[in-house]
Amino acid sequence: MTRLIDLKGAIFLSLLAAFCLAVPVLNLVVPEGSGLHLPTYLVSLFGKYLAYALLAVSLDLVWGYCGILSLGHGAFFALGGYAMGMYLMRQIGSRGVYGNPVLPDFMVFLNYKALPWYWYGFDHFAFAALMVLLVPGLLAFLFGWLAFRSRVTGVYLSIITQAMTYALMLAFFRNDMGLGGNNGLTDFKDLLGFNVQSQNFRVGIFVATGIALAFGYLIARAMTVSAYGKILIAVRDAESRTRFLGYRPEHFKTLAFTVSAMMAGVAGALYVPQVGIINPGEFAPGNSIEAVIWVAVGGRGTLVGAALGAVIVNYAKTILTGAMPDAWLFALGALFVVVTLFMPRGIVGTLMEKFGSRRAAATLPPEPEIAPKLAEEGQGS
């Protein structure tokens, strides 16, 4: 039995803990004039990275351990974000521009007479938190149950997950959807009584995101090192053989997909208060593909690598879009090509191969064998 917290997990969790301690100290305790002081906007930026890291861990759970390349994880992330956004909208109350105690501003603007039924309950945090888990979870369960039962795999699955997030994006862009149309939900005031603009809240939600990431990692890790996880890896590497051994791959895949979607939903819910807006652009298929590259850069099938990849790529994005806005897409595009061609195992995967134990490396996704053969063939002819 593999240990729940191995070496790389221990390093990751301690680094995360150190980060979650250092940032609040540098922001709250160190005085503003000091060179070590961390401005509040950076705290939110780091919080955003951690939310992305949680999304990447959730994606790695299905892609790295189960072979499901989901190009629709951005949809679960955005759905979680919308659930949180709806709660935040209801918290505004009569402080909106139109001062309506029940209806959010955009509804007053669009001549809504009453609150649509699906907004009921979102004034309670507990209900909203439940929805953050349930809405992405249910969608993923339904989608996964349908797709895995009929053995839709590989590329086909990727394409229909992409179609799913695209359809959701079109739907959320509609004003009739009652979720703010293309403006989305914004202008939030407070969460659980804390002002979302205040410094203390910013630090608080940053720490909360860090804790959520740690829990997300531990849940995913617990799943993958358990007996269940072994079968999940078996499904990834040889689905038919696993089926012939008497397992039902669709059950294993559906469970992983659902848990992963819930995790992505939580990431979205933590992301929204930090950026202050959620709009249908979050459903854009490009976002989901970008999340995939975070996982690929860090190393798929390592969990730690996924989180690391998300932080590294997004940090690079922040730096590059600030310094040379035009260069970012070139760099991101090149990253996609270079990582897939030259570093198929990602940063952490490559390190594990070099320095890790043989047994740990065995859980990595197998290196595809067809490419070398093709190269041989190319030379031969």
């Binding site: 390349l69 989608f143 349908l146 797709a147 039962r149 009929s150 053995r151 839709v152 590989g154 590329v155 086909y156 990727s158 394409i159 229909i160 992409q162 179609a163 799913m164 695209y166 359809a167 079109l170 739907a171 862009f173 509609r174 298929p285 490009g286 593909i289 995939v292 590259i293 690929a296 035009d326 897409l329 070139f330 991101l332 595009g333 090149a334 990253l335 996609f336 090509v337 990582v339 897939t340 061609l341 198929p344 595809p368 067809i370 490419a371 093709l374 190269a375 063939e377 190319g378 031969g380 002819s381």
Partner: protein, 524 residues
């Protein structure tokens, strides 16, 4: 010949009818009432000069010589005699014949009647339509005369409709006449006809009301069918656009199994090539502009095809058999291409002009068909058939299929598989470039052009069945038509969402698409 005879008949009979005062004398008279009577008399006389004289009067070019009351017309070439058309002496004493609004109205009505006997069928038809619209009872006698001599079937029908419309609008028409007129209106079958029949709802006669109601029902059915046909046409048009966008992907994804996320960017490159070709033509050889699209097609094919070959050689070659990795790598390539085009041409839309043959529309049994759509449909079919020919009938197509079905065996037979791979990928990309030429005519040429088509293209190929060109054709047309038929009921966005959900569910039922290939080729 018959036309001339008919005209002669009119000429001969007219003076007999108009036994009253000479209209020329009346026109030269003093009061407006006299001039108006002259206009009406001249129109009824059937005088071949009547049209010229009346238009001169309405333009203020009809002159009268006070000394002998002779009418003259001022033309660009000089003064002519109104009655004979012979040149005449200019004279400072000439006074224009005045016209007030009453006289002008009479002139307009008379010109309509004159046109009814014009030698030009198009003019006669126009006049009949004008009467139909105006429903002026005064035009009835002229209409009857013209109808009696009309030989052209289309014009005759227009006149019958006009006559029926006048009869139905005129108070005091007998019930039998009305009942006879209703079918003529019903046969017209458009919104105007429906309006006339609706107007009969308060008719005292029950038989007329019933006939009108039947007519309305018949017209409504006809219009509904026409509307549905129009939507099917729009659907075919949308389907042909989908086909164009997807057909290159049917090669790279369908035949080669490469998930080319940069496919949309190949389309975009084709559109930008069109833009560049047009710019070059505008500055260097404006006379060639009508041919700009034809010139762009091979250029776009070469540009996109070349980029495709480069992508294959430098990226995809290393990733065969790893479809998910190709997806990521080509997505990266698509980002780079988009940003490159954005850096070179700027983020805004580029103007691509449409040659004259792409604009305008024609009427096809009540369907309005625009030439632009027509050409795109024909073009997509031509591309489809051309590609089918290349794959089925050429040596290159044979090799492509061989490599696809069994790479090792093909290599053993002496086919240079890497070479075939590169060319096949170039072909698929080149076809995407050609699609870009057509899409530049209907979409904004911007760096994001390709992104709008990539998801749809994949869905078309997957829906149709991977590796099957006919499946792609059927899928594209089906999705296009279903989308357009659903649009009037649930709106464009919901129709699109519904279609996406349908495809997601369809893939569950038939994971290999509509027309799945059977045999070993699909086992992967």
């Amino acid at each position: 010949m018959t036309r001339l005879l008919a005209l002669l008949f009119l000429l001969l009979s007219a003076p007999a009818l108009a036994q009253g005062p000479d209209p020329y004398a009346q026109l030269a008279g003093d009061g407006y009432a006299e001039i108006e009577a002259g206009v009406a008399g001249l129109a009824a006389s059937g005088d071949p000069r009547a049209g010229v004289i009346l238009s001169a009067l309405s333009d203020g070019r009809l002159l009268v010589r006070p000394s002998d009351k002779t009418l003259l017309i001022r033309q660009a070439t000089g003064i002519v005699d109104a009655r004979t058309g012979a040149p005449a002496q200019d004279d400072p004493a000439l006074k224009p014949v005045r016209a007030n609004n009453r006289v002008r109205r009479t002139i307009e009505a008379s010109q309509g009647q004159l046109n009814l006997v014009s030698l030009d069928p198009a003019k006669r038809r126009e006049a009949a339509d004008a009467v139909f619209k105006a429903r002026d009872a005064a035009a009835l006698p002229a209409l009857d005369t013209a109808l009696a001599h009309e030989k052209d079937a289309a014009v005759k029908q227009a006149m019958t409709e006009a006559r029926a419309a006048v009869l139905l609008a005129k108070p005091g028409t007998a019930e039998a006449e009305k009942l006879a007129a209703i079918p003529a209106i019903q046969a017209r079958g458009d919104g105007d006809a429906m309006g006339i029949l609706r107007g009969l709802g308060a008719d005292p006669s029950e038989a007329v009301r019933a006939a009108a109601a039947r007519g309305i029902a018949a017209i409504e059915t006809r219009l509904a069918i026409l509307g549905a046909l129009q939507n099917v046409w729009y659907g075919i048009s949308l389907g042909s656009v989908l086909l164009l966008a997807a057909i290159g992907l049917a090669i790279t994804f369908g035949v080669m199994g490469v998930i080319n996320m940069a496919h949309g960017e190949m389309v975009m490159l084709g559109a930008y090539t069109t833009y560049l070709v047009q710019e070059a033509i505008r500055t260097k050889a404006p006379a060639l502009f009508p041919w700009s699209l034809a010139i762009s097609i091979p250029c776009a094919f070469l540009v996109a095809g070349l980029v495709g070959v480069l992508i294959e050689r430098f990226v995809i070659r290393f990733l065969y058999g790893r479809p998910l990795e190709t997806l990521l790598a080509t997505f990266g390539v698509s980002l780079v291409l988009q940003q490159a085009v954005r850096s070179i041409f700027g983020p805004t839309n580029r103007e691509v002009g449409a040659p004259a043959f792409m604009s305008g529309a024609f009427d096809f049994y009540g369907l309005s068909v625009t030439w632009g759509r027509m050409w795109i449909i024909l073009f997509s079919m031509a591309v489809f058939l051309g590609l089918l020919f290349v794959l089925r009938k050429t040596s290159f197509g044979l090799k492509t299929r061989a490599v696809t079905q069994n790479r090792r065996m093909a290599a053993a037979m002496g086919i240079r598989t890497p070479y075939v791979d590169a060319l096949t990928f170039g072909l698929g990309s080149g076809i995407a470039g050609i699609a870009g030429v057509a899409l530049s005519q209907i979409d904004n040429v911007s760096p994001n052009l390709g992104q709008g088509y990539i998801i749809d293209s994949f869905l078309v190929v997957v829906f149709g069945g991977v590796g099957n060109l006919w499946g792609t054709l059927v899928a594209a047309l089906t999705l296009g038509v279903v989308n357009k038929l659903a649009e009037p009921y649930i709106g464009a966005v919901l129709a699109k969402i519904g279609l996406l959900i349908f495809i997601i569910l369809f893939i569950q039922k038939r994971p290999r698409g509509l027309f799945a290939l059977k045999g070993r080729a699909v086992e992967s």
